[in-house]
């Protein structure tokens, strides 16, 4: 991983950046989020009292060395993991207080995912894959396919709508994944290493796409990345190490190495 300036250990006092006071909830608000795995002697603390606020309308990059807790943090933010302590609000809704179906429903309606490994369903065509979030919401198949087709056009891959994932290149698959992540117009987009499996030019294209389509005033985007080539696309950078936030940078000139 390329260094961005220098990494410093987290200060004792938590680092909190206040959301802009414009009456809109922060896209993400984490309060003293802690996560432990295992029990008794085998207990490992992965996150240590994370406090974080990310405003809407921005792409936030979450960077740090492997094992620093980035994936655990976004899993908790996305409601895929429960924290051991603390709370997470997504656009004002306390996701950590939600239980079972309520959390699943909230996630389905409000959060979109772009995975490193794409995770497209191999038996479904590009347009069918992109339609899945709408089908989960209960849309009729015909309408879901039509909306997904529009989304595929928007990401520049409409001509491949009937191709299976194994007939698409890595970049094309990631575009389908982005279309799938955005088709149901989620308020929060969570991207885990979206460019890791792509070359420089394709990674550039994917991030440009994300910036163009996903970054909206009433939406938030958080991208976990090791890829220093895409640092310039972020509006803010959150650096982590050893389960703590080191610093939050908002000046792009400080992002790139």
């Amino acid at each position: 991983m390329s260094a961005v300036g220098s990494y410093t250990l987290a200060a004792v006092a938590p680092i909190v950046v206040q959301a802009p006071a414009i009456g809109i909830d922060p896209a993400i608000r984490c309060r003293q989020v802690t996560k432990e795995f295992g029990t008794d002697d085998a207990k490992i603390q992965v996150l240590h009292g994370i406090d974080l606020e990310l405003p809407p309308g921005e792409m936030a990059l979450l960077v740090g060395p492997s094992g620093c807790g980035k994936t655990t943090l976004i899993s908790i933010i996305a409601g895929l993991l429960d924290p051991t302590a603390g709370s997470v609000d997504v656009f004002g809704s306390n996701i950590t207080d939600m239980r079972g179906r309520e959390k699943v429903r909230f996630r389905g309606a409000n959060i979109g995912f772009v995975f490193q490994q794409y995770n497209l369903l191999p038996a479904l065509t590009a347009v069918e894959n992109a339609a899945v979030p709408l089908l989960i919401q209960g849309w009729k198949r015909r309408q879901a396919i039509d909306k997904a087709a529009e989304m595929l056009e928007e990401v520049g891959i409409g001509h491949k709508r009937n191709s299976l994932p194994n007939q698409l290149s890595g970049g094309q698959q990631q575009r389908v994944a982005i279309a799938r992540a955005l088709v149901h117009e989620p308020r929060l987009l969570v991207c885990d290493e979206p460019t890791a499996a792509l070359d420089a030019s394709l990674g550039q294209v994917v991030l440009e796409l994300l910036r163009k389509i996903a970054v909206q005033p009433d939406r938030g985007v958080i991208v976990v990345t090791h890829d220093s080539r895409i640092y310039g696309f972020g509006d803010r950078m959150v650096t982590m190490s050893d389960g703590r936030i080191d610093k939050i940078l908002t000046d792009r000139s400080e992002f790139a190495h």
Binding site: T71, T72, I74, S75, A78, L80, L81, G100, R101, V104, R105, R107, G108, A109, F113, F115, Q116, Q117, N119, L121, P122, A123, L124, E128, V132, P133, L135, I136, Q137, R141, D192
Partner: protein
Amino acid sequence: MNWVALKMLLGDRTKYLGIIFGIAFATLLMGQQISIFVGILGRTASQITDVRDADIWVMDSNTRFIDEAPPLPETDLQRVRGVPGVDWAVRLYKGQVTARLESGQYRSTILFGLDDNSLVGAPRTMIAGSIDDLKQPDAVIVDKAGYEYMWPGEPIKIGRTFEMNDRRARLVGVCKVSPPFTTLPVLYTRYSQAQWFVPHNRNLMTYILAKPQAGHSAEDVCKAIDERCNGEQRRLTALTEKQFRWKTIRYFLSSTGIPVNFGITISLGFIVGLAIAGQTFYLFTVENLRQFGALKAMGVHNARILAMIFLQALVVGTIGYGIGMGLTAGFFEATSHVTHLAGLGMRIEIMIGVGMAILSIVLASSVVSARRVLLLEPAVVFRT
């Protein structure tokens, strides 16, 4: 999402066909073997079922099954006739006799000696000749399968002669009856004629066939016969046709290797089907774990995932069952013209029973697979 579940299933053609093969194989094996088992058991008592005129069989108390009945003295016939509630009672001989054909060959046969006057117990379906022709001297009627056994490849010809116990027997008819368990020719003659065909015994009468009077149930008349005809020592037993049929079947179930043999094959069919379907379905689910994880992350709750997996299992189960049942039916259809396999076929109860077994295979396979998915943490999709 049902449509997504089916597309996921159909997208992996190898596993999809593998599961269907496993289910179809299990269905074929179980359906065919259970049908043959039921058919063979039915044959053990088919000669009881074929006697439609009488509702009551009276026999020596030591009788274990229809083919093993100690003979009764003639006086027992009068005693049974004297029991209140008995409308009529006639004698019946049943035994095994060796026939010597014109060619000099010998054939073991089953011989029925029917009451001379009433011919109670006579076959209902004649292919050639007439039942009344039994009143002719030396007259014998043989069943169709028996005719083919005694004169293989030859067309039916009435008037053939052969010998039993050095007495001439003349074929006056060919009939159609339920195949017996031992697949020997079944011969019918008059009781008085049977006395000549059978080696000399002190007593000839094997069974007494009786009918209850109107207004009397067969069970009540059986009890009356038991009470009236037995002294301190129980010597006679009266059973309804149904009771005697099940007594015979129970004998074969408990005293022969038939149930063990078929039971092993049927169990193997079930186990193999479960193994193939279960393992393939489990592999299919495991290989799609990331995709299931992605679906969970995207908002599909566990109940819906479970429904998707059950739907997949039910679809392959139904297709496999249909193919297996079709193959089983095809087997019995293809062999229906084979005389010695006559009467063996599938019944609706067997289809339902095999369907239940397949359903349990399908449910077991999907539960084992679903468990893995239900316990899956959606966050796994973030791990490479």
